[in-house]
């Protein structure tokens, strides 16, 4: 990296003693009893379950907790001063790179942080080029950020942070939304660009294993404080001891025959023609690299888009009761679709429609023609089963990521569909939520439901996939 300016070229020391944070709207402390010393240049992994307060600790270190919104206790210092004063020596990465990119061109975005620091114009572009090279960014400065993949965007965000020569680099689940290949490239870029130990690095991730070669120490955030893991520690395998109900052999419910899809105005097919079968009591896993059309296939199977070539058709059993015996799911009315094929999207919040959890779960049954009382009973039962009863009156948007994921699966189950189509149902989940979601899916399979799961998740493939389709 450029050495033009002194500030931020020296790694910082972080000290926390009895530190805690409470959010304005909550009664419980989000984080408490944190004692931690991070020496300059150290690389630390902070792990722990969803909601343990990992991200809150990172936000506090970054000095970006809104004082109007959070109450602090104890002591937290960066190089002996309050974190707010360390802002200019800070670099940050979070889950969603789209909310970290400011400008519409790659080079401009890296330059943004340098402009803010008051770098003279002439000094900016050489540093931008250096930073882009350091993260292995494969395009030029003029590349529109819109045209980048998730992994490329995340590396661009890293370049934007590195260009400022940060003394403290905070990475908040930077690979949670990336496919395995993209995630590996981001980790490699972090490793390469921090190899000179000019920055103290704190990584937050509930998936500890891939970071282990990169970090010096692993600290777990638990209720009431931190636990430091000994050297050589390995995380518990999330599939360990998992006993899933077996599948059953049922009839073919839904089939795609030579089904392909091309977006209007696009020269290239988003999905080359494929043949696939969703069978009752079995789980079909759809795998393949990014851009192969996995999610597009999910949309076709879910009856959300009409195939441009070939066809997708339901069996007689699945199409039973549909008006005029239409067999193609994309021609079904929404009310007919919802009781036959349940779909879970990658982003759960896109599927929320109401202001209360209970209404959210009752909505599908109501739409498929159930009576209000029956729909309400279904909703209550699901709330109970998924441990969401305390939130029955809460707004779905206010749930944590893991809770939202469980809710979106639950809404799909509420109408007891015979087919479930799921797009990356375990994306970015901690071990506990992961096991809950997998168990829930296996239960559906054992009662004869046919599953189609689009996934990159190797563990999920191991424990659940009966049939595989590689695109």
């Amino acid at each position: 990296m450029g050495r033009a300016r002194g500030s931020g070229e020296v790694p910082v020391r972080v000290v926390a003693r009895g530190f805690g944070v409470r959010h304005a709207s909550r009664r419980a402390w989000a984080l408490s009893g944190v004692d931690l010393v991070v020496e300059p240049g150290e690389r630390i992994l902070l792990t722990g379950a969803s909601g343990a307060g990992k991200s809150t600790l990172l936000a506090a270190l970054a000095g970006i907790l809104d004082p109007q919104n959070a109450e602090l206790t104890g002591e937290l210092t960066v190089d002996g001063g309050p974190p707010q004063t360390g802002r200019n020596r800070l670099g940050m990465l979070a889950q969603d790179p789209d909310s970290h990119l400011v400008m519409s061109r790659a080079g401009d975005d890296v330059a943004f942080g340098l402009e803010n620091a008051g770098f003279p114009t002439a000094a900016i572009w050489p540093r931008v080029d250096e930073a882009l090279a350091a993260v292995g960014f494969p395009y030029g400065r003029d590349r529109p950020t819109q045209a980048l993949s998730g992994g490329e965007k995340q590396r661009l965000v890293l370049a934007g942070a590195l260009a400022r020569g940060p003394g403290l680099l905070l990475l908040d689940e930077p690979t949670a939304q990336l496919d395995p290949a993209g995630a590996a490239l981001v980790r490699a870029a972090v490793a390469r660009s921090t190899a000179d130990r000019r920055a103290t690095v704190l990584v937050v991730d509930h998936d500890a294993a891939p970071w282990l070669p990169l970090v010096d120490r692993v600290v777990e955030v638990v209720p009431g404080g931190l636990v430091e893991h000994p050297p050589g520690w390995r995380p518990v395998d999330r599939t360990a001891g998992l006993r899933l109900p077996p599948g059953a052999d049922g009839p073919v419910l839904l089939a795609a025959e030579g089904a392909g899809y091309t977006y209007r105005g696009s020269p290239r097919a988003a999905l080359a023609p494929v043949t696939a079968r969703v069978t009752g009591g079995r789980a079909l896993a759809v795998t393949g690299p990014n851009g192969a059309g996995k999610s597009t296939l999910a949309l076709l199977l879910a009856g959300l888009r009409a195939p441009s070539t070939g066809r997708v058709h339901a069996s007689d059993a699945l199409a039973d009761g549909v008006r005029r015996h239409v067999r193609e799911p994309h021609r079904w009315r929404a009310g007919e679709l919802v009781s036959r094929i349940g779909t879970v999207f990658q982003q759960p919040e896109q599927q929320f429609l109401t202001g209360r959890l209970r209404d959210e779960l009752a909505l599908g049954p109501l739409r498929s023609g159930e009576h209000a009382a029956a729909a309400r009973a279904t909703a209550d039962e699901l709330l109970e089963r998924l441990g969401l009863v305390p939130f029955a009156e809460a707004n779905p948007y206010t749930l944590s990521g893991g809770q939202q994921r469980r809710l979106s699966v639950a809404t799909a189950l509420a109408t007891s569909p015979r087919v479930l189509v799921l797009d990356e149902p375990t994306f970015g989940q901690d071990a506990a939520t992961w096991r809950e979601v997998v168990t829930l899916l296996a239960e559906q399979r054992s009662r004869g439901c046919g599953l189609a799961v689009v996934t990159h998740d190797v563990d999920l493939l191991d424990v659940l996939a009966d049939d595989r389709l590689a695109l």
Binding site: G20, S25, D66, Q68, E71, L72, G74, L76, P82, N395
Partner: protein
């Protein structure tokens, strides 16, 4: 727990911060509202052409559709609660509709500015202290008046050929009604619905339960 050896404790949950200093989140969220309503404007411009066609021969009736253009200023004022938020959001919304292609051309930015000033006046009159129904309706009235003034002078100079009560008055009244209903009432309902989703947690509007 909170009272154990506290060295750097900042318990700052104040009722209402001064409306002057803008945090980055205030700027960005106001801009997001401006951009979002710019897209709404773009769509409404097209819909306006269709909806207004049957009403075109009595322009005061078409004025009933004007309220949508006054929404960004009032929503931003109610949500961000900072002096200037209405002007910023309204002007940006107009500029974005221009970027997307507007039948009104560059003058639309002047409209955005004037409509924002109109809404801002309502918040100024309540001194940025109250953000309930009274303020929403008042800002709706002032915003409606501001846009009527421009419309009558720029787009319907023919109104001067008619008696005041036959054109100017009904045009203004319909615009104000539309503004109060769509921008004031719907605007406040929108802000409250947004608050319930937890998306406004960094704003006073997202914390106070009314």
């Amino acid at each position: 727990m909170a009272d154990s050896a506290v060295r750097s404790s900042s318990t700052a949950i104040e009722p209402q911060p001064a409306p002057v200093r803008w945090r980055t989140v205030d700027i960005v969220i106001t801009a997001v509202l401006g951009v979002a309503f710019g897209v709404v404007f773009w769509a409404w411009n097209l819909a306006f052409g269709v909806l207004a066609a049957p009403l075109a021969f009595f322009p005061p009736l078409a004025a009933i559709l004007n309220g949508v253009y006054l929404m960004p200023g009032i929503v931003a004022g109610l949500l961000v609660r900072k002096a200037g938020a209405a002007i910023f959001a309204s002007t940006l919304a107009a500029a974005v509709s221009l970027l997307l292609g507007s039948p009104y051309g560059g003058i639309i930015v002047v409209y955005g500015l004037v409509q924002g000033l109109g809404g801002e006046l309502g918040f100024l009159l309540t001194r940025y202290r109250h953000f309930g129904w009274g303020t929403a309706v008042l800002a709706g009235v002032t915003a409606g008046l501001s846009t009527s003034l421009l419309d009558l002078n720029l787009y319907y100079p023919v109104s001067q050929d008619y008696p005041f009560w036959a054109f100017t008055l009904p045009y203004t009244v319909f615009t104000v009604i539309s503004s109060v209903l769509l921008a004031g009432v719907v605007g406040l309902l929108l802000v409250r619905a947004l608050a319930r989703t937890g998306a406004l947690s960094s704003f006073a509007a997202g914390r106070t339960r009314v």
